[in-house]
């Protein structure tokens, strides 16, 4: 991961944010990301993000749960230690439905949640750069990555033109790292 320079714009209304995202995409500037305090519907498509495949992962985990339950119980009751319970046959499939169902749900839910954390790269102890302290409160924050071909004054002026309420230029670590949230990072001194 690397520390890079970003131009940051904060909007206070979704209705202003959407056209701004479109303009940035047209302009050719490198849109790093948009941070919002809640799920804004349609923002992912406006940014050109693909639909997530998380639910497909959930389906696969669920199938794993189903086959684990059926496979395990049928192996135990027909081969490893067959016992007659209540006159049921060894392969008493209807009696296994409850546990099979529960394991399907359990595997799907746990697997999906872990995949969700992995894809979003979130975990206890993970730290990421926060561009604006109010991005989780009431501002919609857009970060544009700057390089030698994009003079910051020009980008900031452009962002102001899109209706941004606040703009700034920041050095930021673009990925994630382990750290305590109450500790200042070294690179943050560059923004002071």
């Amino acid at each position: 991961m690397a520390i890079k320079k970003f131009a940051v714009a904060a909007y206070d209304d979704e209705a202003v944010l959407f056209p701004a995202v479109k303009k940035v995409r047209k302009s050719g500037y490198k849109l790093h990301d948009v941070y919002t305090p809640f799920a804004v519907h349609g923002l992912d498509t406006a940014m050109g993000l693909k639909e997530t495949d998380l639910h497909i992962a959930g389906f696969i985990y669920g199938i794993c749960g189903t086959s684990t339950a059926v496979g395990f119980i049928s192996w135990i009751f027909t081969s490893d230690w067959p016992i007659v319970y209540g006159g049921k046959p060894h392969f008493a499939l209807p009696a296994w439905v409850p546990i099979t169902f529960e394991l399907t749900v359990l595997f799907a839910a746990v697997g999906m949640t872990l995949t969700f954390c992995y894809l979003n790269q979130i975990m206890p102890g993970v730290k990421k750069h926060v561009f604006h302290p109010r991005q989780s409160d009431d501002l919609f924050v857009m970060a544009i990555e700057l390089n030698d071909h994009t003079p910051e004054a020009e980008v900031v002026k452009f962002l102001k033109g899109t209706g941004a309420k606040e703009t700034s230029v920041q050095m930021a670590e673009e990925g994630w790292w382990y750290g305590r949230w109450d500790k200042k990072e070294e690179y943050e001194a560059l923004n002071a």
Partner: protein
Amino acid sequence: MHIKYESFVREPLVDGNKNYHQVSEDIISPIERKPGRMWYVGFIFSIILLCFGIFSVTWSVYWGLGTWGVNRTIGWGWDITNFVWWIGIGHAGTLISAILLLFRQGWRTGVNRAAEAMTIFAVMCAGQFPIWHMGRVWDGFWVLPLPNSRGPLWPNFDSPLLWDVFAISTYFTVSLLFWYSGLVPDFALIRDRAKTKLRRMLYGFASFGWTGTAKNWQRMEALALVLAGLSTPLVLSVHTIVSFDFATSVIPGWHTTIFPPYFVAGAVFSGFAMVNTLLVITRKILKLEEYITIGHLEAMNKIIVLTGSIVGVAYLTELFMSWYSQSWGEIAAFKWRIMGPYWWSYWAMMTCNVVSPQLFWVKKLRRSIPFTFVMSIVVNIGMWFERFVIIATSTYRDWIPGSWAYYSPEWPEIGFYLGTFGLFFTCYFLFAKYFPVIAVAEIKFVLKTSGDNYKRDMQRIEEQSAEEFIHEQEAAHHEEHAEAAHH
């Protein structure tokens, strides 16, 4: 941009003049303040109850279950009654968060966080009873799917008691994941606005480093939807399986096919009552009346009258079936249930569960807070008696008159039950102090469609003619396109 529009005829979900920042302020600031005196009193009282519960359980384990009032005729007493009671209460949270999400009931956003928390704590309490009921609790790991130490003898996967182990542990895990995944963005909000270092550190840890990128939210929505889809059959399955503990047996009064739907309806009934008990107090103390409105309480009261009526029909159906079966065992079981020495528990159940909720057909009572509060407690007393009736009065007059018995709890059983109240309220008090009791991000999501101040603007749109409306929307659409073309 899609149109954010909901008729102003529908009651707003958020009252007062709110913007996004005000929502954060209202819900998060109680966490940042020192708790009031009421909180300390309640919390300490809960801890005392919890300690008494721990003492009672320790006593029961040390001296054995002979310290309990259960006997050879009535083998399941207060313990299993309380187990079913708590697990029933634990159904409302996931019902609100999952089923109402799938049905797109907007009002769930105000109450889902607290209801889910209640679910998790109630399931924790419920789980205590089967565990300590084992008696030799150090052998409790035998319920796990492990071959035992005397050879590869496995637990009985055909037994409803083992299904219960899987159902309840799965339910607890999935509810916890669902609840916590929703909490992550709200913890990030507390972290970002934290003034003290300690708070920033702790909530930073709890928020998993969430920053709320567009992709994060997209995956969050996918996760919530699939978890809701999974939890919906799950929540129905849990109480179904609990009812199998009884229904698959051959005891008159238990051996009925009506049990699964009847238990699920009863669970929802008692769960919503408990949500009302907690929220009536929580909204008052944390001053959240604008988020948990009378409309929310009314919506839950409607569900209480519906499920209460279903439960009532089930009771009557049971009576009818015992007569219609012409099986003398069944007829006797219900005769002793209604008119035997335990008659008072049957009639307490009937009064609290069937008769009293019918008062909620009156709109004025449905929207009265004191009445809702009293009723929520009455319902849970009734539901406790329901479980007691099913368990004790189906067994106390069994096939051999020589073994007929009566059962009253001994103090360790009562102490154990009080202890679970201690556990439940200790957890709830900590939750109310340190966690956002309302899902902040979800409230913000519905604010512009369902907030009072935004809905007032809808009046203008509502009064437009269809032509005018289409014209205005099209013009806005063209403008956007023209602007895009310009670039």
